[in-house]
């Protein structure tokens, strides 16, 4: 890779050992992908908590702090694995909570802004067209590329942290014009009235085209989709298809004027088949989750309308996750009280699928099924041995309140 004088100085230790190590690591990653140079980034979003990092990651972070590692650009954190106010009741380990607090403190010493959210694009920072960023959580990346027209690759925790320390990232993938073109067209011949439907579209399109560089171009939809709809679509495409970008004709800033040759259609009957194909297992309906990604304010509002004057069935657990800012507003606006009165557990700053101790939690509660309106979380929780079922939002609320799974 070609290095600028500034990059050579970083490599030589001019900005400390941690930044030098970070740049060496980025060069190896860049070489793999054939990157010729670095691009400066304005913003970094990183994943780092004890559940994903483990003791090895914690030890790595301790060393970074010892070496006085410090962010060169504004850096925020993704959702984490514990809401300390709930961790004891959730059956999470006290020892791991101590480590989680140590991670948060270490990140803050490195000048990381611990926002603990996977919806930074809705609540913290909205990059502009052409802006290079280094974001982690695939849902944030696909939203940045597709909806804002900003430029990011999937940056895993160690890669995002390296970008934070060096202020740059190798120029490959979605930083380059040539990877941002649509590769196949998807006609949306469906109503898509619920957020789960948008996730189901992401599942159908992603599963059939698993490739980071596949870029679907959606067209033919009968109205303008909203931010939460594009969020669920993107999160599911990234999850099922490992995709980092999509276009939506007439909606997203870089959508092409001419459709690619390869074409597929998603119709209402395709969506019905998605819902029908989930196996109900033993019929267990005691876990309903609204998470992955965290809920936006409008999702909280909608849930509060659906749960108004209702009660969660005795023995059922219903979990909603969001970030601290949305939770504060939800309290102020009365949405949170309605959910709490119904018996919903609202967790702050976390995502359900990375909750520390989730497998033992599942066993202790004898949960077998997990019902959710998020196609993403339905996909990604398999290693914890849940049987997962995607249902529309109102149907999820109905399952939580009736204890009956259909």
């Amino acid at each position: 890779m070609e290095l600028t004088p500034e990059e050579q100085a970083i490599l030589g230790g001019g900005r400390g050992e941690a930044a030098s190590r970070a740049l060496k690591y980025q060069i190896e990653v860049g070489k793999f992908w054939g990157a010729k140079r670095f691009v400066p980034v304005t913003n970094v979003h990183m994943m780092g908590d004890i559940e994903v990092m483990g003791d090895a990651g914690l030890e790595f972070l301790r060393n970074e702090v010892k070496q006085r590692a410090r962010c060169a650009v504004p850096t925020t954190t993704n959702a984490r694995c514990m809401d300390f106010a709930h961790c004891e009741r959730m059956g999470q380990d006290a020892g791991e909570a101590v480590k989680e607090k140590e991670i948060i403190a270490a990140l803050r010493r490195m000048d990381v802004v611990t926002t603990d959210t996977c919806i930074n694009y809705q609540t913290v920072y909205q990059p502009h067209l052409g802006e290079h960023v280094a974001w982690g959580d695939t849902g944030t990346v696909i939203y940045a590329n597709s909806v804002f027209g900003a430029r990011s690759n999937f940056e895993a925790g160690p890669a995002a942290l390296a970008a934070a320390l060096t202020g740059r990232t190798p120029a490959y993938g979605f930083h380059l014009e040539e990877h941002r073109k649509g590769t196949f067209a998807v006609e949306l011949n469906a109503k898509l009235d619920d957020l789960a439907d948008w996730g189901a579209v992401g599942k159908l399109v992603g599963e059939s085209h698993q490739n980071y560089y596949a870029v679907p171009v959606f067209h033919g939809y009968h109205r303008t989709p909203g931010a939460d709809e594009l969020k669920h679509l993107g999160a599911a495409l990234a999850s099922y298809g490992s995709m980092g970008m999509f276009h939506f004709v007439g909606v997203t800033p870089e959508a092409p004027s001419k459709l690619p040759d390869e074409k597929m259609v998603v119709s209402d009957s395709d969506l019905e088949a998605v819902y029908r194909n989930y196996k109900l297992g033993d019929g267990d309906a005691r876990l309903v989750v609204f998470s992955g990604p965290q809920q936006s304010l409008f999702e909280m509002k909608n849930l509060s309308l659906l749960f108004q004057n209702k009660k969660i069935k005795s023995g059922t657990t219903c979990i909603v996750t969001t970030n601290s800012a949305i939770l504060k507003q939800s309290h102020d606006l009365g949405y949170a009280k309605i959910l709490e009165d119904a018996g919903v557990t609202i967790l702050e700053g976390v995502c359900f699928y990375i909750l520390q101790n989730l497998s033992p939690m599942r066993e202790k509660n004898r949960w077998t099924n997990m019902v959710s309106n998020s196609a993403k979380i339905v996909n990604i929780i398999g290693a914890h041995r849940f049987n997962t079922i995607l249902r529309r939002t109102a149907d999820c609320v109905e399952v939580a309140c009736s204890g009956v799974l259909r």
Binding site: F32, G34, T138, P158, I380, G382, A383
Partner: protein
């Protein structure tokens, strides 16, 4: 008995092959305490990837995978190498961070050359994978 790969990182390693017809994520599919694939219905469900040379056609999802490779290496339950048909940046960032060899792109397709249980050698520098010894 040879496979050429397009992109590669890491030192030369040898080990027993595990050839999967299904893609992989260390978060979605793997029990990160035992190194066994536990996702219900995964084509390798019940298979250990510890110390194996793992052939996967695709990579799935997940940013969290980036720390996971370092974590499983620390726990001594990591594979010796990841051989992907198509991968994504997270897998590469994670593998490089953990020092685990990783490759992308293959010719010919492994199913024509290598079977689970064969002993294979991965040479990232030469972008070459060779079957050293057939499974008994």
């Amino acid at each position: 008995m040879k496979i050429l790969v397009e992109r590669a990182f890491g030192p030369i390693v040898e080990g027993e092959a595990v050839v999967s017809e299904e893609g992989f994520s260390p978060r979605y599919d793997l029990d990160r305490w035992t190194g066994v694939i536990t996702k219900p219905g995964h084509k390798l469900e019940g298979t250990s990837i510890v110390d194996k040379i793992c052939f996967f056609p695709t990579a799935k999802g997940g940013i969290a995978a980036g720390w996971a490779f370092y974590d499983i290496k620390w726990k001594k339950i990591a594979p010796k190498a990841f051989i992907f048909g198509v991968t994504n940046p997270v897998m590469v960032q994670g593998a490089v961070f953990a020092g685990i060899p990783i490759t992308e792109g293959w010719s010919p397709h492994p199913r024509e050359v290598v079977k689970t249980g064969d002993w294979v050698r991965v040479d990232p520098g030469r972008k070459l994978i060779e079957v050293v010894k057939r499974a008994a």
